[in-house]
């Protein structure tokens, strides 16, 4: 209890010191908070994006089969494609998709035919012919009931039946869910044609073997992409973009060095005062503890504030600065809802990168006074 009381008294003394030097203390607080926020964003960004992408990619089809010819992509005959895929051992749920990219007044739109999908989660229901459910990035000014003009093989005007949820913008931001008849008309697909064929597998290890069999089973040339390929490619793209933000680590390192130098200079200015304390009976441990208490009283709340700021910058629901900055969105950027799983490691690393040099510099500033003779310290001007 006495030990606790002694530390308490030192902390109170340190607060008195900090209040006497209010401006430098506030400046130090702001600098530490900003530095921690910058480092935590730089360290968290790539990891949060990659982890979210990985989690989303696990929900995508395992294998996508697209028919190609000398002119490129060509429509897929549904009956032949399904018959070919169903004969392969290990292929689960072969199904065709009707989708494609068309243009709208606000930019390219991913048109997806709703009937190809299972039942939509409530309260959404599959759009009727002439209707469209659209993501938040498509014609954001339009409200339900307005006309939406989509231009593919032919221009088609659809009634806006509703908006898809914004918290799913990473899936639906520029998706227009339309009836299969409208999708076929927009994409110039006949009744027995689809955009591509997708299949699932029981284990991802089976994908390589199934791809070869799918190529053999299809009666026309096909181009096949797999989920592991797509995931790897997405990771590389995200890491490349995230690396651009990591460049901020260079000025952050310079800022840490400047802060250490400033604390060292401040320690030199305090030497006479510390000499006075020693002459009055303070022990070396008291002086070191005072320096550390003062450092912690500013540093702990500052670094926690910085961590909170960095965390909120990335994990606040619906952030848009990341897609604007990294992914080339100009107008309405998708609202990101990134997962905060495994955020603990980068956050702790960000704190350590700031706290270790900061506390070391504070300790060193105290040690300079402890190691010297009180008489020498008092003689310094």
């Amino acid at each position: 209890m006495n030990l606790l009381g002694r530390y308490h008294d030192l902390a109170v003394w340190a607060i008195g010191d900090l209040r006497r030097e209010a401006l430098p203390s506030v400046t130090l607080f702001v600098a530490l908070a900003a530095l921690t926020a910058l480092l935590s964003v730089a360290l968290l960004l790539t990891q949060a994006l990659s982890l979210t992408a990985d989690r989303l990619m696990t929900q995508t089809p395992a294998v996508v089969v697209r028919r190609v010819d000398a002119g490129g992509w060509s429509p897929l005959p549904v009956g032949e494609a399904l018959a070919g895929a169903q004969g392969i051992a290990g292929v689960l749920h072969p199904r065709v998709r009707i989708w494609g990219v068309v243009s709208s007044a606000t930019g390219p739109v991913n048109v997806v035919a709703a009937t190809a999908a299972p039942e939509l989660p409530p309260p959404w229901s599959a759009p009727l012919p002439g209707q469209a459910l659209v993501g938040s990035g498509i014609a954001p000014g339009l409200s339900a009931g307005a006309d939406l003009l989509l231009t593919g093989a032919q221009p088609i005007s659809l009634k806006l039946a509703g908006r898809l949820p914004e918290n799913s913008a990473l899936a639906l931001h520029d998706v227009a869910l339309v009836h299969v008849l409208d999708a076929r008309a927009l994409l110039a697909l006949a009744e027995d044609q689809a955009s591509d064929l997708v299949v699932d597998v029981f284990h991802d290890q089976e994908i390589e073997a199934i791809v070869a069999e799918l190529i053999e089973a299809m009666p026309w040339p096909v181009h096949i992409t797999t989920r592991p390929e797509n995931t790897r490619r997405l990771r590389v793209e995200l890491a490349t973009r995230g690396a651009a933000v990591s460049v901020t680590l260079i000025p952050a390192a310079l800022a840490v060095m400047t802060m250490v130098a400033a604390i060292g200079l401040w320690g030199r200015r305090q030497r006479r005062r510390m000499g006075l304390f020693k002459a009055l009976g303070w022990t070396s441990a008291d002086i070191l503890h005072l320096h550390l208490a003062r450092a912690l009283l500013v540093g702990l709340p500052a670094m926690l504030s910085g961590l909170t700021a960095g965390y909120l910058l990335l994990f606040w629901p619906g952030i848009t600065w990341v897609p604007r900055l990294l992914f080339g969105w100009n107008a309405a950027a998708p609202a990101l809802y990134l997962t905060a799983r495994s955020a603990v490691g980068p956050l702790i690393l960000a704190v350590l990168l700031v706290a270790v040099p900061y506390l070391t510099a504070s300790f060193w500033a105290g040690w300079q006074a402890v190691a010297a003779d009180p008489a020498d310290l008092l003689e310094e001007t």
Binding site: V12, V198, R233, L234
Partner: protein, 126 residues
């Protein structure tokens, strides 16, 4: 009523824990306010730690779940990190000679941004 009035007269003004502690120990007013300041700093720090931990566990951990559900429901191949129609979004791993326009009326993309390192698989590519 009388008891209430008397208790109001007798009861001293309320003080915070740190102030009471400071008064007991006979500390001057400056020290009392420093105590208060210390208590606030500790309280803010603890609050921030608790808020980060609770938010990370309760909310932000699975806030991508809705998007994952829609990707599965609509059989989408890619999350919407990039705009629709961009090479990163439309067809990863494609051979650049293959025109991947699902609709013939859409203008061809510039292949300058194509990433050749991603490779391709299939047969019949020109």
């Amino acid at each position: 009523m009388v008891r209430l009035t008397l208790s109001a007269v007798i009861t001293p003004p309320r003080r915070s824990f740190s102030e009471k502690n400071a008064v007991k120990r006979g500390l001057p007013r400056d020290t009392r306010s420093a105590n208060l300041c210390l208590a606030w700093l500790l309280a803010i720090s603890l609050f921030l730690i608790a808020a980060l931990v609770l938010d990370g566990i309760a909310r932000a951990r699975d806030q991508d779940r809705a998007a994952a559900h829609w990707i599965k429901t609509l059989d989408l191949s890619m999350p919407a990190f990039w705009p629709a129609g961009s090479p990163q979004r439309l067809m990863p791993g494609a051979f650049p000679a293959i025109d991947l326009r699902p609709a013939p009326s859409i203008p061809a993309r510039s292949w300058e941004t194509f990433n050749p390192s991603s490779g391709s698989r299939g047969q019949g590519a020109p």
